[in-house]
Amino acid sequence: MKITEKEVRYVADLANLKLTGEEIGRLSKDLDEILTHIDTLNELDTSKVQPMAQVLYDAEENSTLREDRERPCLDNNAALANAPLAGAGYFKVPKVIER
């Protein structure tokens, strides 16, 4: 077993996902299979390889830096328009801090 149900619960917690018991069982099996397949990467010696974080191609240094100038940003109403709950110009969430 590459991953136990206990670990699946722990990861779900990190990912902020509420899962049913059935989902946890299913995910344990699926992740175990996928992680077993992923183990094939260990056949490769990558000790001398530089990691590739992004697709790179030839360009001038700093060419992605743009001029720093003001632009209008999204207005408050537009930004809040899709909020499930908003008020007084803010997103509203369940109370976090007790008085």
Binding site: E33, I38, V49, N82
Partner: protein, 484 residues
């Protein structure tokens, strides 16, 4: 109107241009016919999730005004286009195929959408897709699967299944899809249309809802190679809103379609042909034979890291996705499941909102990034990604283009593979390598199987050589390659 009703389903961009110039129809008349046709036909495939008639007619009116005033209406003037529902459209619902965004109305437009409309394009509506572009069959949409217009009991491929289906069905002249691991090319191959994944950074990702940022592309889908090239021409180029968009000038793709492919060196990677289902392999062998007749020099090459691509991809893509999808937490994006505490609200909202495939990928991505596993998985995958990119770099020092299959098999039956996620992931093998390397690649139709199912042939070239890729694909199309 007669010119349109005789075949809105078969129009090309070229036909639209001629029709408008000859006053056979106005842009508004075309938009109305196309919308009517698309709405009437949609129940057959479920390819559109929603239509944008107001926006379409406003765009068409602008084109007609320009034509009347003798101004240039743009390269895509009046062309009915569909947009995958992971690309945001201001004022037009954008769901990403997810319940979580059922009522999401974006406050801004994606750069590609702005550019399409600036070129005179008419956006008919938004197309169905796998939830957050995660899937290879379109069965992961919260709004039901898309049916393949070629064979209605089969999947159209994914994740851009809706975009491929509308182009195949004729309910749009062209469409935009998105590709992270093959999501443009694989559905294009399943539906028998042209699908292009440009060089990473060639098209701005601004307004493409993020799945895996180092792999995400917007790509055009169309019925002909020149149409796909024209679409890319209109949306490509540097955009300040996407720092990863490339500065490289955008060449004139259409001017490069001169049919001359004599002496073009083509590599067939042996790793892509081992164990390929015989009928798909046969179709592609025939396509290669045609390229040879056109004067191309064909040779076998090797891309040795290929067998590690799926494992590499499903680490990188899920890691990035787990981070990108963290934003759907019940605070900003329309859907919330109420709970006593903030953290319970996050969990309940995400637990109820995401479908099974998204949950699987969020879980895998969170796991590989979690404490103690980063080096073993994510860093390892980044190194393997470098090896895969190196394979291509080496290959392109020997050949001008690579020809390969798109998918190991043609469109499968709806429901046939949904219970085996690993098998579904493994079937992405031929398309994910191009995304990992960031090179341009496309799928062109390559005949059909005995059952009448389309097969796609993939063409890959080096970074920013969309020109060479289109020239080869266009010569192949003009020589009758699409029919096989």
């Amino acid at each position: 109107m007669s010119a349109i009703s005789s075949g809105v389903a078969a129009l090309t961009i070229q036909d639209v241009r001629k029709g408008l110039a000859a006053r056979d129809f106005s842009a508004v008349e075309l938009a109305q016919s196309a919308l009517e046709f698309a709405q009437a036909e949609n129940s057959k495939t479920n390819a559109y999730l929603h239509f944008s008639p107001e926006r379409a007619l406003a765009a068409a009116e602008r084109v007609d005004r320009k034509l009347k005033a003798g101004e240039d209406p743009g390269a895509l003037a009046g062309v009915p286009i569909a947009i995958k529902d992971v690309i945001v459209t201001k004022g037009v619902r954008t769901t990403c195929g997810s319940r979580l965004l059922e009522r999401y109305i974006p406050p801004y437009d994606a750069t590609a959408v702005i550019r399409l409309e600036q070129a005179g394009g008419v956006i008919l509506g938004k197309t169905n897709c796998d939830e957050f572009a995660m899937g290879s069959s379109n069965e992961n949409s919260a709004y039901g699967p898309v049916k393949n217009p070629v064979a209605l009991d089969r999947v159209p491929g994914g994740s851009s299944g809706g975009s491929a289906a509308v182009v195949a069905q004729g309910t749009a002249v062209a469409a935009l899809g998105s590709d992270t691991g093959g999501s443009v090319r694989q559905p294009a191959s399943f539906c028998g249309v042209v699908g292009v994944t440009p060089t990473y950074g060639r098209v701005s990702r601004y307004g493409l809802v993020a799945f895996a940022s180092s792999l995400d592309h917007i790509g055009p889908m169309a019925r002909t190679v020149p149409d796909a090239a024209l679409l890319l021409q209109s949306i490509a180029g540097r955009d300040e809103c996407d720092a990863t968009s490339a500065f490289a000038p955008v060449p004139d793709y259409i001017a490069a379609l001169n049919g001359n492919v004599t002496g073009v060196k083509i590599g067939l990677p042996k790793e892509y042909f081992e164990g390929l289902a015989s009928e798909t392999g046969d179709r592609i062998a025939k396509g290669v034979e045609l390229l040879r007749k056109l004067g191309c020099e064909v040779r076998e090459i090797s891309l040795p890291a290929t067998k590690y691509a799926v494992a590499c991809y499903y680490i990188i893509a899920t890691a990035e996705a787990s981070s990108n999808l963290a934003r759907y937490d019940g605070v900003r994006y329309t859907t919330r499941v109420e709970a006593e505490t903030l953290s319970d609200m996050y969990r309940a909202t995400r637990g109820a909102g995401f479908g099974a495939e998204c949950k699987r990928r969020i879980m895998l991505g969170t796991y590989v990034l979690s404490h103690g596993y980063y080096d073993a998985y994510y860093l390892k995958a980044q190194k393997v990604r470098a090896l895969i990119a190196d394979d291509f770099r080496r290959a392109f020092s020997e050949v001008d283009a690579i020809v390969a299959p798109v998918s190991p098999f043609p469109a499968f039956k709806i429901g046939e593979k949904i219970d085996d996620p690993l098998a579904m992931y493994l079937s992405d093998i031929y398309t994910i390598t191009g995304d990992l390397a960031g090179i341009p690649c496309m799928s062109v139709p390559c005949g059909k199987t005995a059952e009448g199912l389309p097969v796609g042939m993939q063409i890959l070239t080096k970074h920013f050589d969309e020109t060479g890729m289109f020239r080869l694909a266009d010569a192949y199309e003009k020589a009758g390659g699409f029919a096989g």
